[in-house]
Amino acid sequence: MNFPNPFRSQSSWGRLVEASIDYAERLGDRQVGAEHLLLAVLDDPTGATRRAFAAAGADPTAVEDAIRWSHANALRAIGIEPVPEAALDVGGRPGKHRRSDFGESCRQVIGTAATRAKLAGVGSIDLHMLDAIGDLREGTAARALRELGLGPGALHAAVLDELAAASRAA
């Protein structure tokens, strides 16, 4: 996929890509989605995204479980008990992801974050990504956030606080 220019030259973008791919593989997903990007941005070495997440009232360490629960609950809603992951674990990796394996939800988040980063002119890519993911209304990331009590837009104020702090520190 063609990544927006604001991200291409920044080393943190490479970290986000690699981390999101790793999370997709860890969760057994062939395609990288916004939920994997969410896990990746929460690894932000500055801790800003985790602070924003916690300030919004949710535990950043609970996101991976919330994603798993979201999928499991979706199956139970149609009367299917999820197969335990260990039962299908053959000791390998579910797939070798390529850049083209980034899904539509990722493209949407990246596009939104790129626009906001350009307008704001401050703050880490991770914070703008978190803000964009927090605005999603549908999809696995949105459902996982709802599992944690965060509806659409619930992260925005906390992200703005972190961006303001970054602006003061700059």
Binding site: G28, A72, A74, L75, A77, I78, I80, P94
Partner: protein
């Protein structure tokens, strides 16, 4: 699966819930396919046999699984 079986699947009222179930089913199918192909290859099945069993071309199954098995 007979038509009656499909109609008996409890479709959630909320379209978001119904579509999330589709996503979750696809994930499980992917994992099952990966495990089944890995098992078959480990037991000496050829890519041609695996492809025939899955009802896809040999090229398709090789492209999807060869780097991981």
């Amino acid at each position: 699966m007979a038509d009656g079986d499909l109609q008996s699947l409890p479709l959630p009222d909320d379209p978001g819930d119904a579509l999330a179930a589709v996503v979750a089913l696809r994930r499980q199918a992917d994992r099952l396919e990966y495990a089944a192909v890995a098992q078959a290859v480990a037991r000496g099945w050829s890519w041609a046999q695996v492809a025939a069993a899955l009802g896809v071309t040999r090229q398709a199954v090789h492209k999807r699984h060869a780097t991981k098995s």
